[in-house]
Symmetry: C3
Subunit: 154 residues, 3 copies
Amino acid sequence: MDPAQRLEAIEEIKQLKARYFRCLDTKDWDGFADVFASDARMDMSGEVKGDEPGAGITTGSREITEFVRAMVGHVTTVHHGHTPEIDVTSPTTATGMWAMEDTLRWPDGGPLATMHGYGHYHDTYEKRDGRWRIASTTLTRLRVDVEAVPRPDA
Amino acid sequence: MDPAQRLEAIEEIKQLKARYFRCLDTKDWDGFADVFASDARMDMSGEVKGDEPGAGITTGSREITEFVRAMVGHVTTVHHGHTPEIDVTSPTTATGMWAMEDTLRWPDGGPLATMHGYGHYHDTYEKRDGRWRIASTTLTRLRVDVEAVPRPDA
Amino acid sequence: MDPAQRLEAIEEIKQLKARYFRCLDTKDWDGFADVFASDARMDMSGEVKGDEPGAGITTGSREITEFVRAMVGHVTTVHHGHTPEIDVTSPTTATGMWAMEDTLRWPDGGPLATMHGYGHYHDTYEKRDGRWRIASTTLTRLRVDVEAVPRPDA
């Protein structure tokens, strides 16, 4: 690939991830599903309590969308991505790391009042039928702060 | 436009919006006015209380600067923009969406103590006389948290 | 430089600064040292209390790494960079400004509980032996909020 083609791929991948964040926070679930390859893999095992093998790991763009929607569809979420390090490894494959911050506020009756976290996404991307999509994504954390639900008697 | 020209326009627009944020937060009002087209339109109707038609909508780079300066010129502000989705629609026109977060702290005597918000800018850009400028900008919100001024008797 | 070469330099510098942030927050000190020119200069004089001349100013990639590691090696840190304004001034020199936000949490016994700040980096970059590196970096602040350590009797 010549420099302009490589830079074009990087910009397309940045905008792909931008749609991931925007569709997630505006609850545009059709748009959200569309950023993933049909056989994409999401590893949120660090986010999910529980010891069963494979907990928090989801495969398939539709399954990922259903998993995420069940977790935060009713939650006011803000997810921001920063300083991407995109490496285009071939005309149809790339890797990326993103710094991230997320701020969640549950409605009354939720398991928590708020959560505020920081970490990194570790992604792979694939270009199929002329469009880049997220092929895999794993979230690691630097720090998570939670605010518990006030007790009724507090 | 060839790929390099399109990427160059995208980078120029990213730096244009970067100046918007930096000049706003460092109170460089000449620099701030300069990022807008002379007939630019700013829609902050979601930020402004009041039912009168057109409240929060301002037209003209000078008028926008005066409007913003009156609102936050004396406030410690931090505005950050994230994951731009810039679409160059012709050699002289483009659209853009930006995720955003702002943190404001009023001096003593202000209407609030702090405000912390999250949302998206929906922009259009135009290139005139060889330079990109913001032609219109509208802010929508995901969430706003305010901290009221402590009451004197608290 | 032609447009594609200039854009390539800008993207390389963005990823250079991305490594600065990521290595700092994941405590990858070899990676951190590697983003600086061997004779780089870091000006954190605004961060350091004390009146002695040169306080907070450090020269040399190894010395910078030791200085930063002593300050925050044991602290949970999050540093995010936003909306870079990179200006490539020659094939081997560039300047850059970045909006920034940092969130620090000290372990028990630290001088503070948490610090949350906002500001701008003012950088210069140099390309040597085919790679861009940070030649100088100065941090200015818009706002810093600190949370003191709770007193034992509180």
